[in-house]
């Protein structure tokens, strides 16, 4: 895919919290319309990197730019309203119905209630939850996987040009997961959204990514296409590919 322009750029970014260095030497750009998957082990700094983009965190070194401006120069509310965010812990509002949860950002932006309702229903269909059955339920009345899908719908609601998704399909069964991955990839290409997607699942990364960024100990140790990743000499990349190779050997033996 041809880069159409730079949406986000990290310039010599580092983050130190309480004397601990969580991220260092981050230098990369995210192109408009690309699907960047941040891959890495638990604790490698994926979530932290993502939070630098919507300024839930500010870098202690270097600059993170969204469009032209440093995130620290943005009106933080405006910045966040333009970036859909699916948080790792889902974080639905327990006292809001599913409908109110999904309609949150449109409501904040002052859409009228008819627009909100039709948008919410459209999204519930998209994620495979029948509105008639689910719209008026509360989050605790849903399964973990259903809640996770509602989290995705909520991030998409106001049609933001960019999405940050932190392990959005983690709680799904492999079948629903694959369905949603394919559906979502198609949707992303169709709508031309810029997506930053965090996972520790190499298969998911290979299915979705236009580029894979591999994180290790707070650094970006590899950045390139899935094809390049498969041929990378990088030790951490090799570690991630090992289970995949073992799987291949198994299936060949059949």
């Amino acid at each position: 895919m041809e880069p159409q322009g730079i949406t986000v750029s990290f310039q010599d970014v580092g983050l130190t919290v309480g004397g601990r260095t969580l991220l260092s030497n981050l230098n990369f750009s995210i192109y408009t319309g690309e699907f960047l998957v941040l891959l890495g082990r638990s604790g490698s700094g994926k979530t932290t990197t993502m939070k630098l983009i919507n300024r839930l965190l500010a870098p202690t070194l270097g600059t993170v730019r969204v469009q032209e401006w440093a995130t620290t120069d943005w009106d933080v509310i405006a910045l966040r309203r333009n970036i859909g965010y699916v948080i790792q812990e889902i974080g639905l509002f327990p006292h809001f119905t599913i409908e109110q949860n999904v309609g949150l950002v449109p409501t904040l932006q002052g859409w009228n209630s008819k627009q909100i309702k039709s948008r919410v229903h459209e999204l519930l269909h998209l994620i495979g939850l029948e509105p008639g059955q689910f719209a008026t339920r509360y989050p605790h009345q849903l399964s973990g996987g259903q809640r996770q899908r509602v989290g995705v719908a909520r991030a998409l609601a106001a049609d933001p040009p960019m999405l940050l998704m932190d392990e959005p399909f983690g709680a799904l069964d492999p079948i629903t997961r694959l369905e949603l991955q394919q559906e979502f990839r198609r949707l992303q290409q169709e709508l031309g959204k810029t997506v930053v997607f965090v996972t520790h699942d190499i298969q998911e990364a290979l299915i979705l990514a236009s580029r894979i960024g591999l994180m290790h100990d707070g650094r970006l140790v590899f950045l390139g296409t899935a094809e390049e990743f498969l041929h990378s000499e990088n030790a951490e990349a090799q570690t991630f590919l090992k289970p995949l190779r073992t799987m291949e050997r198994w299936t060949e033996r059949e």
């Binding site: 509310i77 965010y85 812990e89 889902i90 974080g91 006292h95 904040l108 989290g151």
Partner: protein, 213 residues
């Protein structure tokens, strides 16, 4: 039968109850107006948490007669010092519960709200306060029950209320008079306790578990 204390003192009991309720009502309303913002403030300004809670704690430990006594040189006698004292006693439970209620909101929920671009005010009014409502009401309930009890002592500084019976009863050694004050005061405390717990369940309980609505 006509000697039964509730009947014997019937009309005066009603009048004293009215005074009692007014003292407590005004004090609790004032305390909410002051404590709720203070409770919210200390969730935002961590540095203020210790001093404000410590102050509220100290107020709570002042014996009630001493508190009334200390207020007399400042505002004289009557209902004003009584209301002020009751208000001061109500600070701690309400401030503490407001703080605890807000802080116990799931951090993931708060972070989702912030990440979605809610302003601090929107987060507070649409997420934190509704989710903390049950705990805050529990604080108001404790404050109210305490205030109903302490208000009986306010009669000593001329604030009226059910304490009037009790002090008179003690002075003339008449148990009926003491009961005419004590029993209605206990009844008010019980009703307030029950009524506010009902509100807690309605507003707090249903938010976490809408099935019980």
């Amino acid at each position: 039968m006509n000697n039964f204390f509730l009947i014997k003192y019937g009309s005066e009991i009603l009048q004293r109850m009215g005074e009692h309720l007014l003292l407590v009502g005004i004090a609790i309303a004032t305390a909410i107006l002051i404590s709720l913002p203070l409770g919210i403030l200390i969730t935002r300004q961590k540095a203020l948490r210790q001093p404000i809670l410590a102050l509220a704690n100290v107020l709570q430990t002042i014996p009630s007669l001493a508190m009334f006594g200390l207020l007399i040189p400042l505002v004289g006698i009557g209902s004003l010092p009584a209301v002020i004292a009751l208000t001061l006693y109500s600070f701690l439970p309400i401030i503490r519960n407001t703080y605890t209620g807000i802080m116990s909101v799931d951090p993931a929920v708060r972070e989702a709200g912030r990440g979605m671009g809610m302003t601090d005010w929107q987060l507070l009014s649409q997420v934190e306060l509704p989710l903390a409502a049950g705990v805050i009401l529990a604080g108001v309930r404790v404050a109210t029950v305490i205030a109903v009890g302490i208000a009986t002592i306010a009669a000593a500084i001329g604030a009226g209320g059910l304490g009037v019976f009790i002090f008179r009863g003690i002075a003339v050694v008449n148990n009926d008079l003491i009961l005419a004050g004590a029993v209605p005061a206990a009844a008010i405390a019980l009703v307030a306790d029950y009524g506010i717990s009902w509100l807690e369940k309605r507003f707090g309980g249903c938010l976490k578990n809408p099935d019980v609505r």
